[in-house]
Amino acid sequence: MLLTTLPFSPALSGALPKDRIRHRIEARGVSSGYHGKRVLEDISFVIEEPAIYVVLGPNGAGKTTLFRTIAGILSPCSGTVEIDGLDIGRLEARTRLQYLSHIDGIPDGLRVEEALRFYATVEGATEQDVERVVRLLGIEELRGRFFSELSQGQKKRVSVARVFLQERTIYLLDEPTSNLDPKLAREIRDLVLGLSRNDLVLYSSHNLFEAKEIGKFVLALREGKIGYFGLLSELRPAKYIIGIRAEGVEGVLSSSSKKGDYYLQELSGPEEVPKLVQELMAKGVRIREVKEMENPLEDLFS
């Protein structure tokens, strides 16, 4: 199982030149949970390279608890969380964070515009900021409607809009694209990718294809502990299987298994792909498409 075979590096920061370090999250021996029951157990890591850090794990692994603890919403039972060297209990540390919960967090009894103004007031944002996020998320037509009347996707858009009311340097986004249609999910991902150029973004998702698309680093949790923390590009699936959509491939490949239009072939790694393609073409196979059939992130859940 990948989680147990890959090394865990508590600090990925060694390779990052000091002049590139603008912001930093450091968790040292953090245990955290609810009502005396620990969900996170002795977690330690340092994050300082601007990028998207995808936080993965099965249900109950502790993703939301990790976000809440970093955001200062939950006090750790033991250990410390520091933001740019400041303890998360201090207001100066929290002012550098923006948090998006997996639930909407929009107060009852307010229209969309009122809800955004409510958070703008709490955050110290301006009326112009409210107008800007309304345009940014394309929710102009929703602003006069009661939040409770919106569809799940519309609610999510409003909730995400709140994240952009004020510029922060660290973003904790717990399932920001859940309940969104593919088009809007893409737009949100693009916004988040924009943030990650200069800022630290922790991003949890159950969509492994999305995680693979946007993440540079992976922080995988399992049973409250870090199972893997490293570059996503260094993750290798236990099996490397490619799918080949082609004509005239029957009897040429060593494997005869098929998934949809794709003939499946297991290789030892991506470096073998060009050689296989050349061999097939030499045998007269007309290749339409070659793609990886396994997402290495799936192994983190196995």
């Binding site: 609810y34 009502h35 109950g60 939301t64 608890t65 809440r68 955001a71 200062g72 919403i73 939950l74 006090s75 207001l91 100066e92 929290r94 002012t95 550098r96 964070l97 948090y99 919960s101 639930i103 909407d104 967090g105 929009i106 107060p107 009852d108 009894g109 307010l110 409510f118 958070y119 007031t121 709490v122 955050e123 110290g124 944002a125 301006t126 900021d129 800007r132 709140r162 004020q166 510029e167 922060r168 340097t169």
Partner: protein
């Protein structure tokens, strides 16, 4: 965009917004509580020229409607908790204790609204109708109606807020929000029954004593809330 450093939560405006939202969320309770209290006042004034009946019944029944009409405070608190509003506010640096006291303050504001309206309309109508406003009536309003309205409303809200926070979220009549009004109005109903059945010489002992007991209960609950309502009690379920 403006930078984030130096931000501090606007606590004052948070309370104002909470009260506005409490009106919006609990307007049905507020409307029913207000309407019933006014209706009762008018029935008592129009139905009897007997100043003793008005002086005994009116002060005893107003707290009942104040408790009922202030339910919006509890509803807003439990809604904010389950919908994750509190965890955002805590992330922005708002202290959980502030969220708890905001819930109580908005409850008290609703009770004050009903109390002010029913007292001014009831006493005004009585005066206009020629029902004598006696010293006994003034004592009942001062030592029972006003304190019991606030104490009863805060008792309901405190019980409901603590109960809903320490239990799994439920909705419906058997949820803390569903049962809290019944628990909350129970003391005022008991006082109403007891005061009608005791000799007039014991009337003030019963009413003022009951108000004192509820005030003590609220103080005890508030003291317990600091221990019972840990930070994680304000978070939405996972």
């Amino acid at each position: 965009m403006p930078g984030g450093a130096g931000r501090s939560p606007a606590i004052g405006s948070l309370l104002g917004t909470t009260i506005r939202r409490t009106i919006s969320v609990g307007w049905r309770y507020l409307a029913i509580g207000t309407a019933l209290s006014l209706l009762l006042a008018l029935i008592l004034v129009l139905g009897s020229r007997n100043s003793t009946a008005f002086a005994v019944t009116f002060p005893l029944e107003v707290p009942l409607f104040a408790v009922l009409g202030s339910m919006g405070g509890l509803m807003t608190f439990t809604g904010d908790r389950t919908k994750g509003v509190f965890e955002y506010l805590i992330a922005y640096g708002v202290r959980p204790r502030t969220l708890f006291t905001n819930g109580l303050a908005s409850t008290a504001a609703m009770a004050a609204f009903i109390l002010a309206l029913s007292l001014s309309v009831g006493l005004g109508a009585a005066e206009a109708r020629g029902v004598a406003l006696t010293w006994d009536l003034a004592k009942s309003v001062s030592f029972y109606t006003v304190p019991m309205s606030f104490a009863g409303a805060l008792f309901t809200a405190t019980v409901g807020m603590i109960w809903s926070s320490v239990s799994s979220p439920r909705t419906g009549l058997n949820s803390p929000v569903g049962l809290a009004p019944m628990i909350g109005i129970a003391p005022t109903v008991l006082v109403l029954i007891a005061a009608e059945s005791v000799p007039s010489s014991e009337y003030y002992d019963v009413t003022v004593g009951a108000a004192a007991i509820i005030i003590v209960a609220v103080v005890v609950l508030l003291a317990m809330s600091a221990r019972l309502m840990g930070r994680e009690r304000f978070l939405s379920p996972l």
